[in-house]
């Protein structure tokens, strides 16, 4: 390797002599890279973090994954598994160097079984590709994270991703039936089953959900699929007060109504999508997207009508309801593009993935939305409240001028204050985007009672600490100095 002279490369911990050749022996010459350009690229994901690996390897078979882990384990080399690198908290950023295990070659759909309502896939299959393949069978893989266009099933399991449809169909963990995992020592284990129910001892497959590559490498997964409903009816409700939208969400859920989508967008989010992609959303304080689905139209109408009534009780207006698939697709597209659109909210500001998702009890939704803006104002940054609120999830982002150091100090305070509030009301650090590096300080506080158990599990499954080391419970206490930032601030 001929790293550059810049500090970012000098920081690379000396790698094992002959590493690249050893890896090439396992996977072949073309499936290993260590050029500075590749290391630089694979050192980032969608988070604010950046740290360089020593080499990137792209295994083509499960046996190769096993061989790589056997080798890494006996040589004490860190292995950071990577799907699409769409993680927002630095989960796939190799903070201690080592090997990046790029899973995207393991991208085969192995079995589609409509009669058993499951699908068996390799970990590198992209979510949207899976849904495209399921469509002709009349089925879907339901969680639908906004990043479905790129995120891999392995990455979604490792982060317990969820999305617009999780309010009705559950998060990734609710779809996992079984999986094959390569453990730190290279052994291959079968976890879970192919059946919908299982009460056969420890649910070790569930342990892998949300493990962020620290306990094993998921190589294959059996996931629940559901028939695509015949009718989908979507509505958009406008509010002049953010809190009223929040109250609507909690009442819809508490009323036993079954939305298939219940999404919030505040004015910052609305302005951003309208500016960036000209979606023409009404310029109001908050919008709520509501959807009901099912095979009986009258039942769908009934659910939508109930949601509408509740929204109206909280002064919603301009409620536009429609079965038009084209309209729905357009709105969903806008929603999926929200994160990037936020970067266009204000000239000179960028959208950074910080304090990006959390969950609070439904009754706190309205208060949370207001709190986000108060905290942002105090710290001279802009924040937004949006997300799959029907499942309790609230997304924010921090919009700031990333080239100014004091903005980062403001961001650090804002993140701390937000999470103090979330903890105080019994919420959780991450609803779906995972912990990685940037949410680790808050998460460690939230989980302080169970950190010992978590540490013991990690030690038992990965005694040499090779799997994504320095993350979750082992992540640094200050996210801002944990790695280089992907932005240059002065």
């Amino acid at each position: 390797m001929t790293p550059g002279n810049h500090p970012i490369f000098r920081k690379v911990i000396p790698m094992k002599e002959g590493l690249v050749q050893d890896l090439q022996e396992i996977v072949g010459e073309d499936a290993v890279r260590d050029d500075p350009a590749d290391l630089y690229v694979y050192g980032s994901d969608s988070s604010v973090h950046c740290a360089l690996p020593w080499a990137i390897v792209r295994p083509g078979t499960v046996e190769e994954v096993q061989e790589i882990l056997r080798y890494a384990n006996s040589n004490g080399i860190p292995v950071v598994t990577r799907g699409a690198g769409s993680g927002m908290s630095g989960q796939a950023v190799p903070i201690q160097g080592g090997i990046i295990l790029d899973m995207k070659r393991l991208n085969k759909i192995l079995e589609i079984s409509p009669e058993n309502t499951y699908v068996r896939v390799q970990a590198g299959v992209v979510d949207d590709d899976l849904n495209r393949a399921l469509k002709p069978y009349g089925f879907m893989y339901p969680p639908a994270p906004a990043s479905s266009r790129i995120a891999t099933i392995g990455g979604e399991i490792a982060n317990n991703a969820s999305g617009t449809r999780s309010v009705k169909y559950g998060a990734t963990r609710d779809c996992v039936l079984g999986m094959k995992v390569v453990m730190a020592d290279g052994s291959l284990v079968n976890l879970g089953s192919t059946t919908r129910v299982e009460a056969s001892g420890y649910q070790v497959d569930r342990l892998m959900v949300g493990s962020e590559g620290t306990l094993g490498v998921i190589v294959e997964a059996t996931m629940k699929i559901v028939p695509i409903p015949k009718y989908r009816c979507m509505g958009v409700a406008c509010f002049n007060e953010l809190e009223e939208a929040g109250d609507t969400i909690s009442e819809i859920i508490a009323s036993g109504t079954q939305p298939s989508v219940l999404e919030l967008m505040d004015n910052v989010a609305i302005t951003a999508v309208n500016t960036a992609i000209d979606l023409g959303l009404p310029d109001v304080e908050a919008l709520l997207f509501i959807e009901a689905d099912g095979n009986v139209k009258e039942a769908v109408d009934y659910e939508i009508e109930r949601m509408k009534e509740i929204a109206e009780k909280y002064n919603a207006f301009g409620i536009d309801i429609s079965y038009d698939a084209e309209k729905r697709t357009k709105l969903f597209k806008g929603r999926k593009k929200l994160f990037a659109s936020l970067s266009r909210y204000k000239e000179g500001y960028s959208c950074t993935s910080l304090a990006d998702d959390m969950a609070v009890p439904y009754s706190r939704m309205a208060e949370m939305a207001r709190k986000i803006h108060d905290i942002a104002d105090r710290n001279d940054v802009i924040m937004t409240a949006y997300g799959h609120c029907g499942s309790g999830c609230v997304h924010t982002k921090i919009l700031m001028d990333p080239t100014r150091k004091e903005q980062w100090e403001g961001a650090r305070n804002a993140v701390r204050e937000i999470y103090e509030y979330v903890r105080s009301v019994g919420g959780t650090t991450s609803a779906e985007h995972g912990i990685g590096l940037s949410k680790a300080p808050a998460w460690k506080k939230e989980k302080q009672d169970s950190l010992e158990i978590i540490g013991a599990i990690k030690k038992a499954l990965d005694p040499n600490n090779i799997l994504n080391p320095g993350k979750l419970q082992d992540a640094p206490d200050d996210w801002l100095t944990a790695t280089d930032l992907r932005y240059k601030a002065e």
């Binding site: 550059g4 002279n5 810049h6 970012i8 890279r33 050029d35 500075p36 350009a37 590749d38 630089y40 690229v41 694979y42 980032s44 994901d45 969608s46 990137i56 792209r58 990577r82 699409a84 690198g85 769409s86 790029d102 995207k104 070659r105 992209v126 949207d128 990043s147 266009r149 790129i150 999508v273 960036a276 992609i277 593009k337 929200l338 994160f339 990037a340 659109s341 936020l342 970067s343 266009r344 000179g348 960028s350 959208c351 993935s353 990333p402 080239t403 992907r486 932005y487 240059k488």
Partner: protein
């Protein structure tokens, strides 16, 4: 910062606006041919950022990773942050070429021995990348060439070609056609 890349500094705000979501890459034909993260549009933006901040030293490999592009704009048409990806690639290509690196991998080349100097290529090229040199021989400017292949397809002498390895050379297209026909026959 290396003097050569000073001109790229103006893209710094746009590169900060890129949230690195990766929405641009599943649709990139270059990535389909070279499925490494380093071959994605998102990576190109990162590499340019690395060059202009000085984090990354320029090299032939960096030049190739940035400049290999068909300018189809699938990336920027799908980028909700509206990052002008291809404008940035084009200017980075120019800067890298000026610094002495080759940026011609996805560009067309004219075989002088086969060329009949009809200048069809000059008139069909929307990027104005083919010009006759002082001897009247059409030459492709690798910085301006967007690798669209229109010149190669319209050259009556078969004098223009694109390189192997990106799925667009004559031989690769022939193979693709054969495979498709064979697949069709099997289905029958």
């Amino acid at each position: 910062m290396t003097a050569n890349f000073k001109d790229l500094e103006k893209w710094s705000p746009e590169l900060n606006i890129c949230i690195r979501c990766g929405y641009c890459y599943e649709l990139c034909p270059l990535y389909k041919a070279h499925p490494w993260e380093s071959d994605t549009p998102r990576a190109k933006m990162l590499l340019v950022y690395g060059l202009l901040t000085g984090d990354l030293e320029p090299s032939q490999h960096v030049a190739e990773k940035i400049s290999e592009c068909f300018f189809c704009k699938n990336c920027e048409n799908n980028c909700s942050a509206n990052v002008p990806v291809t404008d940035i690639i084009k200017e980075a290509k120019a800067a890298l070429a000026e610094a002495g690196y080759e940026v011609d991998r996805t560009a067309s080349t004219v075989d002088e021995d086969l060329c009949c100097r009809c200048y069809t290529c000059v008139s069909v090229c929307k990027a104005e990348a083919v010009e006759p040199d002082e001897d009247g021989q059409p030459v492709v400017d690798p910085v301006e060439c967007e690798g669209c292949g229109v010149c190669a397809a319209s050259c009556p002498s078969g004098a223009i070609s694109q390189k192997d390895g990106f799925g667009v050379s004559r031989e690769e297209l022939r193979q693709l056609l054969l495979d498709t026909l064979r697949k069709g026959a099997q289905v029958e």
